[in-house]
């Protein structure tokens, strides 16, 4: 019975969602009845809005938060046992695990969609999937993976680890934090429903006029999902900025912040500000569809090109929401597992902010062939190529840190070393796309597909796996199987590169993106890519098996299995509610490996105190 009771709040959320749906739909029907417009799209838009509100209130927002607005006292839904993961819970560690598990599942689902695409692409011609199904599969793969890339590190790792890393009890706005997680399930539901509403064939970019119609209502579901997800991202960004600014433990000065915290701070600035632009753009497309405005309809005075500018004004900075925290994880793990201070800490922090600033000035490199004014080409080429300088600093830091270190090649270390290699290829091929002459040919080809899979999968997703293995003992209190971890790494690393490297060639040789059919000269290479991609997909079975079995039955983890110096390792695995018995006193830099007697923080423990990072180490 207690198993059933655990889902009580989710059940109430679903019930309230149905009520909200009915109310919203009724309002829409009444309004369209008055105005004489077709009711279908307003019913979906307002019905969804009602359902979203109902879901949130039902799942726990009412008890934990909204009662207070009416002068009633709030109540916690309970924070014990595994059941807490299925509730509106404000503990940052619970929210972090909720995000992580949700987005790993979405990653695996979207990976399966990619397998479907690769089956279709085994040979030229359209065989397995109907055109509509191919476009829907491709579009769903895109938007689901973009969501994974945006939310897994900031929603998952930053939530779980960041308050621990800065010695805080929780994030600044715990209820906003829970809110930003619980609006994610409706996003997933909307996306998974799109095939039943005619699918959507716009890709994740959703360019109008195609996204305005006349195309299936699945497109509206996609737009609403994207907009909702954007709200989550904005709130998350705000929460981490305030958390880092206001909740650092005594002595945790800005100069002592672990590099992962800096990377999240930089990404959160983009998340809070740039996301609002894409939200506005999506809202305008939704208004064009639902209420008949004409923001993007050239025949009625609108401008189709406008959306591309607004979209990329968010979506290019968004790739730095993805990759900056991945750089943070990369450098964090490289320092701890090289047992050496992070090379050029201040230079790296400076380069993170240079990347943030430049990220807002490069969007139109997506538009070289869009028909925008020619005189914009050179300025955007210059700003785009300037980003290689601060990005180069991250490579300097990575190489400087491992040089003459004591490299302990555990699974997380292997994954971040692979990040250095993969992102190198991703970064260098980016220059061919920043350069106007070469981009004219390469734009919208598989060269672009290969490039962003190298930066986002090879860079960020590898960092996500590094983070999962690195923090697994802290999150679960158990150790994963190291041999299986290494098997997963080598399997994934080799097949990932074998799968995506040839795509640069198919792109140069004239294969355009987002097509089920291609010219026969590309058949052999595509067949090889498809077969390799199935092998890549299989590598995740090893990962899932290792995670499930280790979480259930793995050996108990020590508080600090890696003997890393940062604060999350100076409390139990998993940490207690509110993390530390009393606030830690930070007295030094987090990366003082090789300096005998250096202390990062004094952490109170039950019945005494312990110094973090003072373990005597021989220096040889």
């Amino acid at each position: 019975m207690s198993t059933l009771a655990a889902f009580r709040w989710i059940g109430r959320g679903l019930l309230f969602a149905l009520i909200g749906l009915a109310v919203g739909a009724a309002v829409a029907l009444a309004l369209t009845g008055l105005t004489g417009r077709p009711p279908a799209e307003p019913v979906i838009a307002l019905g969804y809005t009602g359902a979203l509100l109902g879901w949130l209130l039902g799942v726990g927002l009412w008890d934990v938060w909204a009662r207070e607005w009416l002068g009633l006292s709030t109540r916690s839904l309970g924070a014990e046992g595994w059941q807490r993961y299925f509730r509106f819970n404000t503990d940052h560690k619970v929210v972090g695990v909720q995000y992580l598990v949700t987005f790993v599942v979405i990653l695996l689902l979207a990976g399966l969609l990619a397998v479907l695409l690769r089956i279709e692409l085994m040979s030229p011609g359209q065989e397995l999937l109907q055109p509509r199904d191919f476009n829907t599969t491709m579009s769903l793969h895109g938007i689901m993976m973009v969501a994974v890339a945006v939310a897994t590190i900031i929603g998952g790792f930053a939530n779980f680890a960041l308050p621990l890393l800065i010695g805080a009890e929780d994030v600044a706005f715990p209820r906003v934090n829970a809110f930003s997680y619980w609006i994610i399930p409706p996003v997933a539901v909307l996306l998974l429903l799109t095939p039943f509403f005619g699918g959507f064939d716009t890709g994740w970019t959703g360019y109008p006029p195609l996204s305005v119609g006349p195309v299936p209502q699945g497109t509206l579901l996609f737009l609403l999902a994207f907009l909702t997800f954007g709200l989550s991202s904005i709130l998350g960004g705000m929460n981490f900025l305030v958390t880092i600014a206001k909740l650092r433990a005594p002595g945790m000065t800005w100069g002592r912040l672990p590099i992962f915290v800096w990377s999240v701070f930089a990404a959160a600035i983009i998340s809070l500000t740039a996301t609002q632009f894409v939200a506005a753009g999506l809202l305008m497309v939704i208004l064009d569809r639902v209420v008949g405005t004409a923001f993007f309809d050239a025949a009625r005075g609108g401008d189709a090109l406008l959306f591309e500018h607004v979209f990329w004004f968010y979506s290019h900075p968004a790739v730095y929401i993805m990759i900056l925290p991945a750089f943070g994880i990369e450098l964090e793990i490289l320092s701890h597992f090289s047992r050496k201070p992070l090379f050029g800490y201040k230079l790296v922090v400076g380069s993170f902010f240079a990347i943030v600033a430049l990220s807002f000035l490069v969007w139109a490199h997506h538009l070289y062939t869009s028909g925008m004014q020619d005189f914009l080409h050179i300025p955007f080429m210059i700003t785009t190529e300037l980003i290689s300088i601060p990005t180069g600093v991250v490579f300097l830091a990575a190489l400087g840190t491992i040089w003459r270190g004591r490299l302990w090649l555990t699974t997380p270390m292997l994954f971040v070393l692979a990040v250095v290699f993969n992102f190198l290829i991703g970064g260098l091929t980016g220059i061919f796309l920043a350069d106007v002459p070469t981009d004219i040919h390469l734009q919208d080809t598989y060269f672009v597909v290969a490039h962003f899979h190298y930066t986002i999968v090879g860079g960020e997703v590898f960092a996500i796996f590094a983070g999962i293995y690195y923090w697994f003992p802290k999150i679960t209190g158990r150790m994963y199987n190291e041999n299986l971890g290494k098997l997963h790494f080598w399997w994934m690393f080799l097949l990932y590169n074998a799968t995506f490297l040839p795509m640069f060639w198919t792109g140069v040789w004239g294969m355009n993106r987002r097509v089920a059919d291609y010219t026969p000269n590309l058949a052999t290479l595509n067949q090889v890519i498809s077969i390799l991609s199935f092998g890549l997909a299989a590598s995740f079975l090893v990962f899932v098996y290792n995670m499930v079995v280790s979480w259930a039955r793995g050996a108990a983890a020590a508080a600090s299995p890696w003997r890393a110096r940062t604060l999350e390792w100076q409390t139990s695995s998993p940490p207690p509610l509110e993390n530390f018995p009393a606030p830690p006193q930070v007295v030094g830099y987090p990366y003082d490996y090789g300096t005998p007697g250096a202390v990062h923080a004094i952490v109170p423990v039950a019945g005494g105190s312990a110094d973090a990072g003072t373990k005597e180490t021989s220096h040889g």
Partner: protein, 250 residues
């Protein structure tokens, strides 16, 4: 102590040389047929960037692989040296990354853009209008009687300007063999031009095709037309064989 550095530099030069050999000395980095002056600009920029880039991955790989082999340890018991930064290395690194970045901005970046613009500004010998409609291209030759075709035929050695429009959704006008691409945008006319240098046809080489490169809906991938580059006499004969547009009465 300095042995590590010497070996890494040696590795670097070996990998660098190997990379350049793969690009220049083998067929691995072959490009599809370049059938227009514009294609030559794009390919030479591509080749130049590839050749220039090689030392970068060669260096990073050398340090990475050597460090993993040479500096590995079996646990967290020993620490490395407490080096926080090496100023001269940092300055050196910033200097060469900045230098290389500024260099590629100018060449082949700005110079390539100017070269393409210079080509586009040459006198136009032939005008072709291309309208993207889901899921087809309608090609019209307005100066040759205004006939429309479903195959793009252009004469070799002539500067052809394409005026591209769309009246439903975004499309993109891409001819891989010419390395030219421009979006078709509802509400505006975009232009792109090319001077074909080689005769050829889709039947001989699939790069001779007009492909829609911007996702435009269900049958986006079917939106392609054959392209044929022919000699001047052949072009004249082809034009003569086209039906003239019925005369419009005012």
């Amino acid at each position: 102590m300095n042995r590590d550095r010497v070996i890494v530099f040696f590795l670097w030069f070996v990998l660098w040389a190997l990379g350049e050999f793969l690009i220049i000395g083998t067929n691995l980095f072959r490009y599809p047929v370049a059938a227009a002056e514009e294609a030559t600009i794009v390919d030479s920029a591509f080749r130049f960037l590839t050749v220039l880039a090689v030392p970068v991955p060669a260096f990073v790989l050398s340090v990475l692989v050597y460090s993993v082999l040479r500096f590995r340890s079996s646990g967290p018991d020993q620490d490395g040296p407490p080096v926080h930064i090496n100023r001269s290395w940092a300055v050196f690194w910033l200097a060469w990354t900045t230098g290389l970045t500024l260099f590629v901005m100018v060449f082949p970046g700005v110079t390539g853009v100017l070269e393409i613009r210079h080509h586009a500004s040459k006198p136009v010998d032939l005008l072709v209008q291309a309208q993207g409609i889901r899921y087809a291209w309608v090609l019209t030759y307005p100066e040759l009687g205004g006939f429309s075709t479903q195959e793009l035929v252009v004469p070799v050695g002539k500067h052809v300007r394409f005026e591209v429009t769309a009246n439903d959704v975004l499309h993109s006008f891409w001819i891989p063999a010419f390395r030219i691409k421009i979006d078709a945008v509802p509400g505006m006319t975009t232009t792109v031009s090319a001077t074909p240098t080689l005769t050829g046809s889709f039947a001989e080489d699939p790069q001779f095709r007009l492909q829609c490169a911007e996702l435009c809906g269900l049958d986006h991938n079917k939106m392609r037309l054959p392209v044929r580059v022919v000699s001047e006499p052949d072009f004249a004969a082809w034009v003569a064989a086209q039906p003239t547009r019925p005369a419009r009465t005012p």
